[in-house]
């Protein structure tokens, strides 16, 4: 049934590391910064091969964002690295003024996003970062789904002029997209055609949506699965086209339902094609300690939650 298969579980942050390794070899303008989390960001190979193009800033994220902005003046393409929580909320004003408003070509690369960070708990699990970043004028927001796509996205943003927020995660998850894919920023990917419901998923939830779609097929429900790796700019055309065909939508993300992909989808549909929608997302809550699988289950972020949301939204469509 499914045309995608798991090629072996890998973490998306390692996709970032692999992308940085390649950029280190191919783009002399790329420089990397890190706030004391080199091991977590998987950039040791980049550092070993390009020590002069790596800046260890210590536990000082605000300074890191400012230094990154300054490095663009002189023609460099800085990639900052720390956890998503410390890449966004902690340094929002620095990003806003020194990067976004100043039109600086900085790539804010954020690992350990969402609740699947796991046992460290809510202080480290940011579920608000997509909202924070998409609100900034001129900011591009990308949340790839697996190792291969994260690597491809890392390569793509180096060639995209302007500030970018690249979000990825900690756990090892299915790696199911093509290894040598071309990543088109702002282009939604239809992973699977369907006619009864559209699953609009981002990040780790894309794989869960594919599993849900397979299970739904066994119940006679045909789900279209769209991978929204770029939340901003959103591929509104693809979204509206699919919603017109299926008549209902479930948005799926490892993020608060306030401010995330789901709200961008709702706004798009409200403007162009009002459509029933359900949200698979956290519901205005902080996370907690636990294994990623336990947390995905408890906070309603797995394929079972998606199936339940589909059954609900299809009923609403019938009304």
């Amino acid at each position: 049934m499914m045309k995608y298969t798991d090629q072996g579980k890998q973490d998306t942050r390692s996709g970032y590391g692999a992308g940085m390794t390649e950029l280190g070899r191919t783009n002399p303008k790329v420089v990397a910064l890190c706030a004391d989390l080199v091991g977590s960001l998987k950039i040791q190979t980049f550092i070993d091969e390009n020590p002069e193009r790596f800046f260890q800033v210590g536990i000082a994220e605000a300074n890191m964002m400012g230094i990154a902005a300054g490095l663009t003046i002189g023609g460099y393409i800085p990639f900052t690295g720390t956890f998503a929580n410390f890449s966004t909320g902690r340094v929002y004003d620095q990003i806003r003024q020194s990067i976004a408003y100043s039109d600086k070509n900085v790539k804010i690369c954020a690992s350990h996003a969402g609740i699947t960070l796991g046992e460290d708990g809510a202080t480290h699990q940011i579920l608000e970062d997509i909202g924070l970043m998409k609100m900034l004028p001129g900011m591009t927001v990308i949340n790839p789904c697996d190792f291969n796509q994260t690597k491809a996205a890392t390569l793509a943003i180096a060639d995209w002029h302007g500030p970018v927020y690249l979000r990825f995660g900690r756990p090892k998850v299915a790696n199911f997209t093509a290894p040598d894919q071309i990543f088109e920023i702002g282009k939604a990917l239809t992973m699977q055609d369907g006619t009864d419901v559209t699953l609009v998923a981002t990040g780790h939830l894309v794989w869960e949506a594919l599993i849900a779609a397979e299970n739904l097929a066994n119940q006679g429900i045909s789900a279209e699965v769209i991978n929204i790796h770029t939340i901003k700019p959103l591929d509104e055309e693809a979204l509206v086209r699919s919603a017109r065909k299926t008549g209902c939508v479930v948005s799926c993300e490892e993020h608060n339902f306030l401010g995330g992909l789901g709200e961008s989808v709702s706004r798009t549909l409200a403007q162009h094609l009002p459509t029933p929608q359900e949200f698979v997302a956290t519901k205005d809550t902080f996370g907690e300690s636990g294994t990623p699988a336990q947390l995905m289950e408890k906070y309603g972020l797995n394929n079972k939650s998606i199936e339940a949301a589909v059954l609900k939204v299809i009923k609403r469509k019938a009304q």
Partner: protein
């Protein structure tokens, strides 16, 4: 000693620009602008090696970053009179559709400005980044920056100060406008800063003090001394002692004119004290 004649002509004209700009829109920050007029005059017309035209990357020239962006009036006046954009454009300061925003920005593509500032405490990090880019580019030109003394209350500065010393960013001259005033009063009353120079030294910087930052010869001497200390493994901080509101007697020695514009009568008095030399915009 440098010939200061041209700078002596420039300074009162810049003061006039500052006063007229803030008066015209009844807003803006004259106090710190007036206090830093000599510094800007010397920096842009004596110290910095600047290429013709404006290129954001600034390779092959000295660069300046203003961290305390609220003193935009003096910055804009100096940039315009240095030829970055027409002097007449000063008349658009803080008005709708202007490139001269209340606080400086790159967003309106005003030549001469390389970073937005206004939210305090961010400029030193940016200056360090630009200094690192210069080193990567094997460009021996310098980075200059200016920061308010009160601005050092922002913690990000101390991250940056630590970083610059630890990483031997020795192509950076960061100047602190040590006027002892901030919006709510004297810095020593609002949040005491102690001996700023000593703090920089303890953090591993070389320092130069300019005891009279409103005396052109002292500023020239101090900045030349600071330049001579670059390239020796340490970032250089300049403690620039200035008087907020300098050049207008009733604006001096008080925080009252930090962010307040003069009325018509006050403007007339202030302009009398600073006669036109190069022509008003």
């Amino acid at each position: 000693m440098a010939d200061l004649t041209a700078l002596e002509q420039l300074v009162p004209q810049v003061r006039r620009d500052i006063l007229r700009m803030v008066h015209q829109v009844n807003s803006g920050h004259p106090g710190g602008s007036l206090g830093c007029t000599e510094f800007f005059a010397v920096l842009y017309n004596h110290m910095m090696e600047i290429n013709e035209g404006f290129n954001m990357d600034g390779v092959g020239e000295d660069l300046f970053f203003l961290s305390n962006g609220h003193i935009s009036p003096v910055y804009y006046s100096i940039l315009a009179r240095r030829g970055y954009f027409p002097v007449e454009e000063l008349a658009t300061f803080r008005k709708i559709d202007s490139r001269l925003q209340g606080h400086p920005t790159t967003h309106e593509e005003l030549p001469g400005v390389r970073i937005a500032s206004g939210s305090l405490g961010q400029g030193m990090s940016v200056a360090i980044g630009a200094a690192l880019a210069k080193k990567l580019n094997k460009d021996s030109h310098l980075i200059y920056s200016l920061h308010g003394d009160g601005e050092l209350q922002e913690g990000q500065n101390w991250e940056a100060i630590m970083y610059a010393a630890g990483n031997k960013v020795d192509n950076l001259i960061a100047t602190i406008d040590w006027n002892g005033q901030q919006i709510d009063g004297a810095t020593e009353d609002v949040l005491p800063l102690g001996d700023i120079g000593e703090k920089f030294r303890v953090f591993g910087w070389d320092t130069v003090e300019i005891k009279n930052g409103n005396d052109l010869a002292s500023v020239v001497g101090g900045l030349e001394e600071a330049k001579s200390r670059t390239g020796k493994g340490k970032p250089v901080a300049v403690m620039l002692k200035t008087v907020m509101g300098n050049g207008v007697d009733f604006m001096m020695y008080t925080h009252a004119w930090h962010g307040k514009a003069p009325n018509d009568e006050q403007l007339a008095t202030a302009l009398e004290q600073n006669p036109a030399t190069l022509g008003d915009y």
